[in-house]
């Protein structure tokens, strides 16, 4: 999606350089995508050490297997986002399972600890969705992300935002609407089993088909093996 260098060409060039064993390519990959990988891991795992460990693991995976990235199926960013998200959620589940016992595992039938297990699973879903949404926010095209950040996180009106960014009020309103549309679409694109309960309302029609090329993190899995 919208990385500063986020053209497919950047992805493919970097992939070639990684395959050639260029240390500088590894550094550039880290600089470009570590905020996303570490941020996503941190949001899901809520643990500095675990997030660092997963970040290490993810980059080692790309460095050792750059050929697994398929540019035809989406950006390097979305591939890494999907990989990070899945592994982070796996770890969270494993941790929960250890805390609640086997009943806390996602596939276990509701048994003795059923209520606990259900609560744990709901919490995992919330955390995972929140983390994924944040990474979707981070991946929004820069003008949309900037407009939303300036408005929402700094508590400004759209008029103040427009002035601050030097754009028209009309443009500010459009960016906010489009940015939220993209987020809403991502939410709706969650796997059914994850959002069946909480997001029934969102099974409405897709928004206008004008959003930029996206690769849903959860649908763009590249068949990567688990931990």
């Amino acid at each position: 999606m919208a990385t500063p260098d986020g053209t497919p060409r950047w992805d493919e060039q970097l992939q070639r350089r990684l395959a050639r064993g260029e240390e500088t390519a590894l550094g550039e990959l880290y600089d470009q995508l570590a905020p996303m990988v570490h941020g996503l891991a941190g949001r899901v795992l809520a643990d500095q050490a675990a997030a660092g460990q997963l970040t290490r693991e993810i980059f080692a995976h790309v460095w050792e297997h750059p050929e697994e990235f398929d540019p035809a199926r989406g950006s390097l960013r979305s591939w890494l986002g999907a990989l990070t998200h899945r592994r982070a959620v796996d770890r969270l589940r494993a941790r929960r399972a250890a805390e609640y016992g086997p009943a806390g595992a996602p596939d276990a039938p509701p048994g003795a600890g059923g209520a606990n297990a259900g609560a744990a699973e709901a919490e995992i879903r919330t955390v995972a969705t929140a983390a994924r949404m944040q990474y979707v926010v981070d991946s929004l095209p820069q003008p949309l992300r900037e407009t939303i950040a300036v408005t929402y996180y700094d508590g400004r009106t759209y008029r103040e935002t427009a002035r601050l960014l030097g754009i028209s009020e009309q443009a500010a309103k459009q960016r906010m609407r489009l940015g939220l549309e993209l987020l809403a679409t991502e939410l709706a694109a969650e796997p059914a089993e994850q959002h069946a309960e909480e997001n029934a309302r969102q099974d409405t029609a897709e928004p206008d088909g004008s959003e930029p090329d996206r690769s849903g993190p959860d649908t763009d899995d590249h068949g990567e093996g688990g931990t």
Partner: protein, 401 residues
């Protein structure tokens, strides 16, 4: 009818701002009124509100500074690089990445803050994007040496290249040249001129574009360095020429110092260099010290001691030759160096150092950047106190605009 449609469209265009809570009260009230009678808008409003709800999240974990090195080391241990970055290029790679990470988080208002960049001749006041222009312009000396494009536009009217001003003709005239302080504008004209031209050229660009330009050049520089692992290529700064391997450490250090200047201006924390990188920076500063000592004495009008090789045979004011000082650096970049006090020629070996001093590595570097007061630095001293004072006062002379 048309009016109703127009109103509908107007309300609809407000939905994003409304969902973010960014509508002035009156407009919000009007829109909410409209939503009660318009299912189409109400459905979209619900969608967008729900999406906006996910924006209200806890702050993400801060990315710890040392993580980058840990991750890269971990990766390289599992699969060694076929085209590694030479050790002398690593501090530059790490420091430019650190500064870039800081800049990524800057908001529009923070880009307008003015950073103070002290050097031994004064303080420069620059906005973050101008600091980047400055870094890009001087890094451009390395780019030129490596055959990369020079980021700085040519001086108008074909002004003389900075290198030509380096040695004013009158200095080679007399047999016993009088040591003098070169006018700062002259000595550093190359750096300041290049900075001014690039900053002027980039003045109209959005800060993020300036950042992208700077970042691209830093990436290109490290890539080129990996192809020239010997690092012998001379880099002409105008007032000094360094081999590429030293120039990279020098630029890493300057990037750190100015990164910290920017961080201070926007009140962000900024990590010191990794210990192994700090050690390389200390080593470079120590190796450049004899030159700075010569500069210090020249500035004081001490005619009998000069650091340049032509004066190798001179006696210094004490009548002794080849005095040395033991510098002990403690902290994470711990190490020990012998500093020749009477010119770059170390003198006869085996002589006892006239003094020992103990300094913390980061503080030594900050002193070399003229970010510390040499008279207020905690220093362990033993021996010739005057020699220690001299070294402490010479270090800031390594700084420049």
């Amino acid at each position: 009818m048309t009016t109703t449609e127009e109103q509908h469209d107007a309300h609809r265009s407000l939905l994003g701002a409304w969902s973010l809570g960014a509508c002035p009260g009156e407009e919000a009230a009007e829109l909410e009124q409209h939503l009660r009678g318009c299912p189409e808008c109400a459905a979209e409003a619900a969608r967008l509100r729900e999406a906006a709800g996910w924006l209200a999240l806890d702050e993400p974990l801060d990315q710890p500074g040392p993580l980058r090195q840990q991750v890269l080391d971990w990766c390289l241990a599992r699969r060694p690089a076929e085209l590694p970055v030479p050790a002398w290029g690593l501090p530059y790679g790490a420091e430019t990445a650190k500064l870039d990470a800081l800049l990524r988080d800057l908001g529009p208002e923070e880009w307008q803050e003015v950073a103070e960049l002290p050097w031994h001749g004064g303080v420069q006041h620059l906005r973050p994007a101008e600091v980047l222009g400055h870094l890009t312009a001087v890094d451009g000396y390395l780019a030129r040496a490596l055959g990369l494009p020079d980021p700085v536009p040519a001086a108008p009217g074909g002004a003389p290249a900075p290198a030509e001003r380096r040695v004013p003709p009158q200095e080679s005239a007399g047999p016993a040249p009088v040591p003098r302080v070169p006018p700062q504008g002259g000595r550093y004209a190359g750096i300041t001129g290049r900075t001014a031209r690039l900053v002027a050229e980039q003045a109209g660009l959005p800060p993020q574009s300036v950042r992208a330009r700077w970042r691209r050049q830093t990436h290109d520089l490290v890539r080129s360095a990996a192809l020239a692992p010997q690092g012998n290529t001379p880099v002409d700064y105008g007032f000094v020429t360094l081999p590429l391997r030293d120039a990279f450490v020098d630029r890493a250090f300057v990037c750190y110092a100015h990164g910290e200047d920017v961080a201070r201006a926007v009140a962000y924390p900024y990590d010191p260099p990794a210990p192994q990188h700090l050690r390389q920076m200390v080593d470079l500063a120590v190796r450049m010290l004899p030159q700075a000592l010569a500069g210090l004495r020249a500035a004081r009008g001490d005619r009998s001691v000069r650091g340049d090789r032509g004066d190798r045979g001179d006696l210094n004011i004490r009548g002794a030759r080849g005095r040395r000082l033991r510098l002990v650096v403690d902290g994470p970049a711990a190490g020990e160096w012998l500093i020749p006090l009477d010119g770059p020629d170390p003198g006869p070996p085996g002589g006892e150092p006239v003094a020992s001093m103990v300094l913390e590595g980061l503080e030594l570097c900050q002193l070399a950047a003229a970010h510390r007061d040499p008279d207020r630095l905690p220093v362990g001293e033993h021996g010739d106190r005057a020699a220690i004072r001299e070294v402490l006062h010479a270090l800031p002379l390594l700084s420049r605009p």
